[in-house]
């Protein structure tokens, strides 16, 4: 079942770029990472999903309901953690959580209490007294207190210490196993790599690629470095290598084909040095950015 379905979504602001023709599908029980540099359009997309802003063209659906017309109905079953948590400063944490609860029926109070304990949230402090990370924790609690079918997080790990980050991802994984779908934006590549099932990469308002991470890891891209004084680039390129770079005698490239043809090619030449590494996802993403920049 499609949880999020975005079709040809465009949002243009006066000066700002916004997003252009975004297409995206998130399936049930997926952890979907949405990554891109700052200002690429991640938050804009999320704001359209939550009806904070209206689309210029195209449509966005959640649970097969229209994000503009059925916003209230959609929100009964979602949770949202903003990138920058700004709450009513003079309210107590306890009050903001019960305020959050008051919008939903059938709140499992014990579950909420347990979550507050797990995240060591200080209930009796005023919001204004909390540090960035502690505010984020409150935001996380109030986003999951209704056990949402879909959890949307905008750069959730910003300002969280590593321990809480770990706790967050444990919770997310647990929520996923209980049937929730998770959509989060980030510019932290390693967290995306570790937790997501699927990743969409956005740059300058456009989706550049959507990758299935499991499929990706099956493909096993190698990062290969060769030192040789001979000219073998032409032959390498015919094997289907990517991102070839040459520095003096050192050749750098990515290769995802079969190993044997590569070895039989190399064996014909005098190779001074050879390194074969597993290329991790972060590098794939970085290569996207660089490729586009060139």
């Amino acid at each position: 079942m499609k949880i999020i379905d975005i079709k040809n979504l465009t949002k243009s602001y006066g000066k700002n770029r916004g997003i252009e023709d975004v297409n995206l599908t998130v399936n049930e029980k997926e952890i979907f990472g949405f990554i891109g540099p700052n200002g690429a359009g991640k938050s804009t997309t999320i704001k359209v999903l939550l009806n904070f802003i209206f689309p210029t063209h195209g449509e966005a659906k959640i649970f097969d309901l229209d994000c503009v017309k059925d916003s209230v109905k959609i929100k009964e079953n979602i949770g949202y953690v903003p990138s920058e948590v700004r709450y009513y400063g003079n309210m107590k944490v306890r009050d903001i959580i019960s305020y959050g609860e008051s919008f939903h029926n059938n709140i499992d109070k014990e579950y909420v209490q347990q979550m507050c304990k797990d995240f060591s949230v200080e209930l009796d402090k005023n919001i204004s007294e909390l540090s960035l990370g502690n505010k984020k924790k409150v935001a996380i609690i109030q986003a999951i207190l209704n056990k949402p079918k879909l959890l949307i997080l905008d750069e959730p790990t910003n300002g969280l210490d590593p321990l809480i980050q770990q706790k967050l991802f444990e919770t997310l994984t647990k929520l996923k196993n209980e049937g929730s779908t998770i959509f989060f934006s980030s510019h932290n590549l390693s967290e995306v790599e570790e937790f997501c099932d699927k990743v969409a990469i956005i740059k300058e308002g456009k989706i550049i690629d959507i990758k299935d991470i499991s499929e990706y890891s099956r493909k096993k891209i190698k990062k290969i470095t060769i030192k040789t004084s001979e000219v073998i680039e032409e032959e390498l390129l015919s094997l289907g290598i990517e991102n070839l770079e040459k520095n003096n005698e050192v050749l750098n490239f990515y290769y995802s084909g079969a190993i044997n043809p590569l070895l039989s090619l190399l064996i014909k030449y005098k190779i001074e040095d050879l390194t074969i590494e597993e290329k991790n996802l972060s590098e794939t993403f970085m290569s996207y950015y660089y490729k586009e920049d060139k």
Binding site: K47, F54, V72, E76, I78, Y87, Y99
Partner: protein
């Protein structure tokens, strides 16, 4: 209902501050009443006032030469300053109501919850009205107590209360108009920091129009553009409410509130 309650709670602090300041104003003015009552003082004031050009008297609603030795007339004079304060408070309440959540980012909490924009507007409007209503009640109680203290023995308590009732109804009317204008300001301005200056500006511009309308005969029609003129305290006490003014107040409020709903339901929230 939950939003309404939280909003009333959040507005309580400024409500108390406004009430205290305004009640202090009343106490200050009314404590001068016993000396005003002295016949000598009355003469003095009247001579001074006769010396003033008529236009100035018009501008400050002194045209009918209020008799400051009468508690009601004196209070009505004092009360126009309270109306000013109340109108400004109402205007600020309205102008802050919706833009505050956007500028402070709290709308990201509220609008991620299952609540429609219509309901957000309704809760904000109702909570602002209730806060303003409480302000009026506090002020009325304060004024009645102060009036009791300085009341001359020959004045019936019930008359004081009845006059107060009229005056505060007038204040509520004027405050509501400025609050409604404030609501539309709140959906139009790009940032919270503009809310207070624009609502105060609106008040004083319309107030000036009212003064012009009284000073210059050919500009008399301008009085309809000045909501503070819809309930001039001394006139209410003398002649009661004017139907045209009440109708105008209602029409302006309805138009502004409708506009607020329409715009807020369609606007991109600025976060």
């Amino acid at each position: 209902m939950n939003v309404f309650k939280v909003e009333v709670k959040r507005g309580f602090k400024s409500l108390i501050i406004w009430s205290i300041v305004c009640i202090l104003m009343i106490i200050l003015f009314m404590s001068m009443f016993p000396s005003m009552k002295d016949s000598g003082m009355q003469e003095l004031v009247n001579t001074k006032m006769d010396a003033l050009p008529e236009a100035i008297l018009d501008a400050f609603n002194l045209k009918d030469a209020p008799d400051f030795s009468k508690l009601n007339e004196y209070f009505a004079y004092v009360f126009q300053y309270i109306v000013m304060a109340g109108a400004i408070y109402g205007g600020i309440l309205g102008a802050k109501s919706l833009i505050e959540e956007e500028s402070e980012g709290t709308i990201e909490f509220l609008y991620a919850k299952p609540i429609s924009r219509t309901k957000i507007v309704t809760s904000k409007i109702l909570s602002s009205i209730v806060l303003f209503y409480i302000f009026i009640i506090l002020m009325a109680i304060g004024s009645i107590i102060v009036a009791l203290v300085v009341k001359p023995a020959d004045l019936e308590f019930i008359n004081v209360v009845m006059d107060m009732k009229k005056l505060y109804l007038g204040l509520f009317l004027v405050g509501m108009v400025f609050m409604s204008i404030g609501f539309s300001i709140s959906v139009l301005i790009p940032h919270l920091r503009l809310a207070t200056p624009i609502s105060i500006g609106t008040f004083f511009i319309t107030y000036l129009l009212g003064i012009f309308s009284q000073m210059i005969d050919s500009l008399e029609f301008l009085k309809y553009f000045s909501p503070s003129n819809y309930a001039v305290p001394s006139e209410i006490l003398k002649n009661g409410f004017d139907t045209t003014n009440i109708l105008l107040a209602l029409i302006i409020s309805i138009i502004c509130i409708t506009l607020t709903y329409i715009i807020y339901r369609k606007k991109d929230l600025k976060i």
